[in-house]
């Protein structure tokens, strides 16, 4: 049975990997389509019906473009940058609980690659590694715009990681565990953490936008000031990797937000559905619910992008250090007091 378990695990990893890649691929399409709808346009609609082959066309274009490494760039680090960005983006999904344990032919398969007891810390570690991809890439390009973008990315991520961590601490006071699997289980039915931690969720949401370098915090790739930001010198699939990593990051951070605050695979009336559908189909339905919530968050990311203009750099720092961090600390204090005296 040992061999079968490894095989199942391997299959799960491949499936999750594929799902995050396909979601990232179609996020690029969805972004353009959503942007078009927000601006009363049609969007890409020439490649295939409704343009659904557009990501393939884009990917093909990326692969076939000429690969340019600037003469003065640091060759090795220039390649390490995008590789690191995409690698860290991809391994984040390992600890996310995608659903309850599925029972197929008497064999129970957990829909989570690994439920390590420090799941949140793992996510944090991986996410903060992601910024090294941007930093190294920007620095190795030997270009002032890239460097500026890299500096912005680094300082932004550092300042927002703090308030993100602090907002998580308040959540941990409520849940009492670091394991994402357990956090997901605790939110059974409608007991979603967002009900107990609305301020914490808001803080986490804002920080997630900053961590994934999405508008209104997309200063590292601010076209108006920095040409292309940290990927100014990149071309071909290395540029593709950077862009792709952004979309995978968006998917992963949406999934993390759903797991931590919006009830993961739980939904009201899930016990009833479990009795109705049995051990095989009910967890898969839960996975569907989780997936839908994640996609809604990705839509929200895009919705915000086409609504709010980009922050200025000093405004970004103001918001991070002067507002979000004090608010997060206050949130911890209030949560602690409430838990101590009213529970």
């Amino acid at each position: 049975m040992e061999g079968l378990d490894i095989l199942i695990k391997f299959g799960l990893i491949v499936v999750i990997f594929l799902i995050s890649l396909v979601v990232a691929m179609y996020s690029t399409y969805a972004e353009r389509k959503v942007a078009a709808f927000f601006q009363d346009r049609v969007g890409p609609n020439r490649a295939g019906p409704w343009g659904i082959l557009q990501p393939l066309a884009d990917g093909g274009k990326m692969f076939l473009k000429e690969e340019i490494i600037p003469t003065n760039a640091t060759g090795f680090l220039f390649i390490v940058g995008p590789s690191l960005a995409i690698l860290t983006a991809c391994i984040g999904s390992a600890v996310i609980p995608w659903g309850q344990t599925v029972v197929i032919a008497g064999k129970s398969i957990p829909l989570q690659v690994t439920d390590i007891n420090v799941g949140i810390l793992y996510i944090f570690g991986v996410v903060s590694l992601g910024v090294y991809g941007i930093m190294i890439g920007g620095w190795a390009s030997n270009n002032k715009y890239s460097l500026m973008g890299a500096i912005r990315a680094a300082s932004q991520n550092i300042s927002y990681e703090i308030s993100m961590g602090l907002s998580i601490i308040a959540l941990l006071l409520v849940t009492g565990t670091l394991s994402l699997g357990e956090i997901a289980q605790q939110q059974h039915g409608w007991h979603w953490n967002v009900i107990y931690q609305p301020v914490g969720f808001l803080l986490f949401l804002v920080c997630a936008f900053a961590e994934t370098n999405r508008t209104p915090f997309d200063l590292p790739e601010c076209e108006t000031e920095l040409v292309g930001g940290y990927h100014t010198e990149y071309s071909s699939m290395k540029l593709g990797f950077y862009l792709f990593a952004e979309y995978i990051n968006m998917f992963i951070s949406s999934a993390v937000m759903v797991t931590l605050y919006w009830g993961s695979y739980n939904y009201p009336g899930m016990d009833y559905m479990h009795e109705l559908l049995g051990d095989t189909w009910a967890p898969l339905l839960g996975f569907g619910v989780m997936f839908m919530k994640t996609l809604l968050f990705i839509f929200f990311f895009m919705w915000i992008r086409w609504t709010i203009p980009r922050f200025r750099y000093d405004q970004l720092m103001d918001l991070g250090w002067k507002i979000l961090i004090p608010l997060a600390i206050a949130n911890i204090v209030v949560t602690g007091v409430v838990i101590t005296f009213f529970k």
Binding site: V34, A36, F37, F38, Q39, D40, R41, V42, N45, W303, I304, W306, T307, I308
Partner: protein
């Protein structure tokens, strides 16, 4: 100082109140506006398949007209080329031979008549200048092409189709 136009308006810059500083109500308002647009019908006209309705005096591609008997009206007088501010029109005149009376209305006709569509500014001065009512800008949009030489339209593209067809 008093304003001369009486339109001057002094705006007071108030400090932001708490909710304005908190951004969130403004963000919610912005989000509701954008989601309203999300469900609106797109205004796009998908050009090659769909075409915008033009006004009646729209000036599009030129056409060289024929008279009621199907003879070409143009006599190669050169007034259109002279009036053209962009110098887009060139022509070579020729004398009508015996047996060609059913083709050309006057004794002289344009053997070569070329309009460079990249130069043309579609001002319509040529149709105003024409004494024979031979040229009108009543066609469609000039289609795109790959090579500059393909934008020089000769008589094969400009002259109206013969009557009997």
């Amino acid at each position: 100082m008093e304003s001369l136009s009486n339109k001057k308006k002094v705006l007071e810059v108030k400090p932001l109140n708490f909710w304005e500083k908190a951004y969130l109500p403004a963000i919610a308002k912005g989000l509701s506006i954008t989601i309203g647009h999300f469900f609106k019908k797109p205004v796009t006209i998908q050009y090659p398949e769909q075409k915008r309705e033009f006004s009646e005096n729209y000036r599009g591609m030129h056409s060289l007209k024929r008279d009621e008997n199907g003879k070409e009206r143009c006599t190669a007088c050169g007034l259109c080329a002279l009036s053209c501010p962009a110098e887009a029109i060139t022509m070579t005149a020729a004398e009508r031979q015996k047996g060609e009376e059913h083709l050309y209305r006057e004794e002289k006709y344009a053997a070569v008549y070329e309009i460079n569509m990249l130069r043309c500014i579609f001002c319509g001065l040529c149709e105003e200048a024409c004494p024979k009512e031979a040229i009108y800008l009543d066609g469609d949009i000039v289609p795109s092409d790959y090579l500059r030489k393909d934008f020089i339209y000769g008589k094969d593209k400009l002259v109206e189709a013969p009557l009997n067809q």
